[in-house]
């Protein structure tokens, strides 16, 4: 993410979370946090404990984030934020927490006759292959909770639709037949299958690198009867460095009622 992208992200993030933007100048942004946001990101539990225990007047913080320090001419007091900074990662995390579960309805035209909306479960998966190197894949699946039909790139297909959080008056939502938790299991299996069928030469190579390094290490201590502690440490380091792992993480998901 470039500084401009980070800036845009902050605007959107705080607006969406009802934090009033007090100042916004292309390269920095000042926001009034809500009580909830203060608790989430300001890391001051004792203050909030105190306010709540004493029934005091809560005073959530005002924060200035500088998104592009190099392009600020005046002297601004604020926190520099950039891609890779702990603060931005924290905001990403909060975004993830606050955008994890949705229920959305497709908006239908009032002029048409009453529409029936079909329930779908949509889930976004991130799959990571990790050794001393990494590769990540993103899968977005939707499963029709009436028929069991599965479609790929579900999230992209939603982007073109007009979705609202409250069902339109002229629409009618069909109760699902396949239970969402069963549907989720089905999608999990599909992800597993994709992983199973993928080429895992990367893991073989990582194992090869691991064993080669392990052999080199053994060579160093060849003939040493009582191996010193640093031998074990080094061995552990090699495991952490190379041991291939696959991680599956659900980014978010929800129920979607679509025409």
């Amino acid at each position: 993410m470039y500084p401009q992208q980070v800036h845009k992200y902050l605007q959107q993030f705080f607006t969406e979370n009802d934090c009033c933007i007090l100042g916004d100048d292309e390269h920095y942004i000042t926001v009034q946090l809500t009580i909830d946001m203060d608790k989430r990101i300001m890391n001051r539990p004792f203050y909030w404990q105190y306010v709540e225990a004493t029934n005091g007047e809560p005073s959530p913080a005002q924060v200035t984030f500088i998104t592009d320090q190099n392009r600020i001419e005046e002297k601004i007091m604020g926190e520099v934020i950039h891609f890779g900074s702990p603060r931005l990662n924290q905001l990403f995390q909060v975004t993830k927490e606050l955008g994890a579960f949705v229920q959305m309805f497709e908006k239908v035209d009032r002029l048409e006759t009453k529409s029936f909306l079909t329930p779908w479960l949509g889930v976004n998966y991130k799959v990571s292959y990790c050794s001393d190197q990494t590769k990540e894949m993103l899968y977005s699946f939707g499963i029709n909770l009436m028929t069991g039909e599965v479609i790929e790139e579900f999230q992209e297909s939603l982007n073109d639709m007009d979705l609202v959080s409250v069902i339109s008056e002229d629409a009618f939502q069909v109760q699902y037949i396949i239970k969402p938790n069963r549907a989720l299991q089905r999608l999990d299996t599909i992800v597993d299958d994709i992983i199973q069928q993928d080429d895992h030469i990367w893991a073989e190579e990582a194992n090869k690198r691991w064993h080669r390094s392990q052999r080199v290490l053994e060579y160093f201590y060849e003939g040493v009867e009582h191996k010193p502690e640093c031998y074990e440490i080094e061995k552990k380091a090699l495991e952490e460095q190379y041991d291939p792992k696959i991680k599956v993480e659900i980014i978010n998901g929800g129920l979607f009622y679509l025409t």
Binding site: Y2, Q5, Y9, Q12, F13, E16, N17, N70, G84, S85, P86, F92, L98, G99, A100, F101, V102, Q103, C130, D132, Q133, T134, K135, E136, M137, L138, L163, S165, P180, N181, L184, D188, D192, H200, A203, S213, R215, V216, L217, E218, Y219, F220, Y221, E222, C230, I233, E234, E240, Q241, Y242, P244, K245, I246, K247, V248, E249, I250, I251, N252, G254
Partner: protein, 510 residues
């Protein structure tokens, strides 16, 4: 293969279905997806970091080095570029890449105390890596990226605090300080769990090939075999390497070394001259008397003491006198004391310093800014006085200066003084591209020290040819030093690779 998955989302979702509450915002949902999508690492190979660094345009050789370290060396490497090619940038690129890829969360950078702040600045400004300088009583577990001085790190309680953390990467600057495996710092680094590790040094060999053996054994124990096998294969004599090519190939598997001429950047030339100097008759007399000392008193029979005196005599009477007076206190017999006193008397009567006169000549000829490196504080002060008398302005510099004082001295030199006189410790971490004459007033035993000195001036950003003057007094110990320097350079070149010119004509002699 085991697939790790968390049931966290599933539980949360089912909970929502059973206990209806407000659903999340669609905008945040889409933002969350977009973040993951934008930041997705779609390839095992290639550098992601470069595109996230708007304040930095890395040079081709720096990007290549970072790529090699990650893809071919699996994140354990010696970065051994010649001085001034940007090893810090390469290390920063590697660190950034691992941070982006999520392979590193916690990092520890060990550097000489004088360079700690420079590291913090560069990581923050150029790489957007939130590094902090370590201070005593800092809660070490609360910070992810820490820069610490080597001297602090190796001592209690910091040492134990570091062991208790789970650092994913260690970056060790000026790693030639780890050449001796018997030191505390070596042991300390050996016992660290090094998942990823970068050792930065322009001079992986300073004196002999075992230094490289220990450095590599720290990084990848066994890569060069164990000590016995290494010794039997590579050191019939310390300087005679039989399996050059084989050893070089092994070394190249763990070491990246860019040379100036490989960088594709137009480098200015180094013009190296060895300037022979003749002692005056009086200086020669004192020098010979000093050499005789070993036959006069047991105080001087140790070769080290005598060599020091000889070297100092080649530098200045001030340096010599200081040591000699100290040693005189150890003399017991009256005739010994008398002999020493006679030397001191003759020494102090000397009116001409031939070397200093030569320096004056060089400065006059250069008619430009000049850096003089000496090994001795006494000589440093003498030279300043001598130049002052001759109407030449100079500033002193030594490595013990803190950052503010360094910057101040550098500015004085740049803006006001013609000459900077530095002692050995002044060699590291200061950049003086605006100057292009270097006088090595005394020669160190170690060629890499010369390289470090020259590197202050001959680095990225230098626009002129750089003139280097190595001063050596004829028929003194400085001849031997020159010879030894040649041999050591030979060892380095056989194992590590060619060196840029440090001495004159050494290639012919090897």
């Amino acid at each position: 293969m085991i697939i790790e998955r968390s049931s966290e989302w599933e539980e949360g979702f089912i909970n929502r279905l059973e206990n209806p509450e407000k659903w999340d915002s669609w905008t945040l949902y889409k933002m969350s997806y977009e973040i993951v999508k934008t930041n997705l690492i779609t390839e095992f190979s290639g550098l992601q970091s470069a595109k996230y660094l708007p304040n930095l345009t890395p040079l081709t050789h720096q990007l290549e080095a970072a790529k090699t370290v990650i893809e071919r060396m699996n994140g354990k490497a010696i970065l051994a570029d010649e001085v001034g090619l940007g090893k810090t940038i390469e290390a920063g690129l590697v660190l950034k890449e691992y941070l982006i890829r999520g392979l590193v969360k916690k990092a520890l950078i060990l550097a000489p105390a004088s360079l700690v702040n420079q590291w913090v600045e560069e990581l923050n400004q150029k790489f957007h890596i939130p590094a902090i300088p370590y201070k005593k009583n800092y809660p070490i577990d609360r910070y992810d990226i820490i820069v610490m001085s080597m001297d602090t790190a190796k001592k209690s309680p910091h040492r134990e605090l570091i062991y208790a953390q789970n650092f994913d990467i260690f970056i060790i600057d000026e790693a030639h300080k780890l050449k001796n495996h018997k030191t505390q710092i070596y042991e300390f680094v050996q016992s660290l769990k090094k998942k990823f590790c970068l050792l930065l040094t322009a001079t992986p060999i300073q004196n002999d090939v075992f230094e490289l053996f220990y450095l590599i054994s720290l990084l990848k124990p066994g890569h060069l075999g164990n000590y016995e096998t290494f010794q039997s294969a590579f050191s019939a004599s310390k300087h005679d390497l039989e399996h050059d090519d084989y050893l070089r190939a092994l070394v190249n598997q763990v070491m990246v070394r860019n040379r100036r001429e490989d960088t594709g950047i137009e480098w200015t030339n180094r013009r190296v001259q060895t300037i022979p100097i003749q002692f005056t008759k009086e200086e020669r007399e004192v020098y010979d008397l000093l050499v005789e000392l070993k036959n006069v008193s047991s105080v001087f029979s140790g070769s080290f003491a005598l060599i020091t005196l000889q070297k100092e005599m080649c530098s200045s009477k001030e340096a010599t006198c200081l040591t000699l007076t100290k040693m005189r206190e150890d003399c017991v017999a009256p005739d010994e004391v008398e002999y020493v006193d006679r030397i001191i008397e003759k020494l102090m009567a000397l009116e001409i310093n031939s070397k200093a006169e030569k320096v004056l000549e060089i400065i006059a000829q250069a008619n430009d800014k000049v850096i003089i490196f000496t090994e001795y504080r006494a000589t440093q002060i003498y030279l300043q006085w001598y130049l002052h008398v001759k109407g030449i302005t100079s500033v002193l510099f030594n490595g013990k200066f803190n950052k503010n004082k360094r910057d101040y001295m550098k500015r004085l030199f740049k803006e006001q003084a013609q000459v900077l006189i530095a002692t050995e410790a002044g060699g590291e971490g200061i950049n003086l591209q605006f100057c292009h004459h270097v006088i090595n007033y005394d020669l160190p035993w170690n060629p890499m020290k010369l390289e470090q000195r020259i590197g202050r001036v001959h680095r990225l950003g230098q626009e002129h040819d750089v003139h280097i003057y190595n001063l050596a007094i004829e028929n003194t110990i400085e001849n031997n030093i020159l010879e030894l320097l040649n041999t050591k350079i030979g060892v380095f070149e056989k194992v590590v690779g060619d060196l840029d010119d440090i001495l004159t004509n050494y290639k012919k002699t090897i």
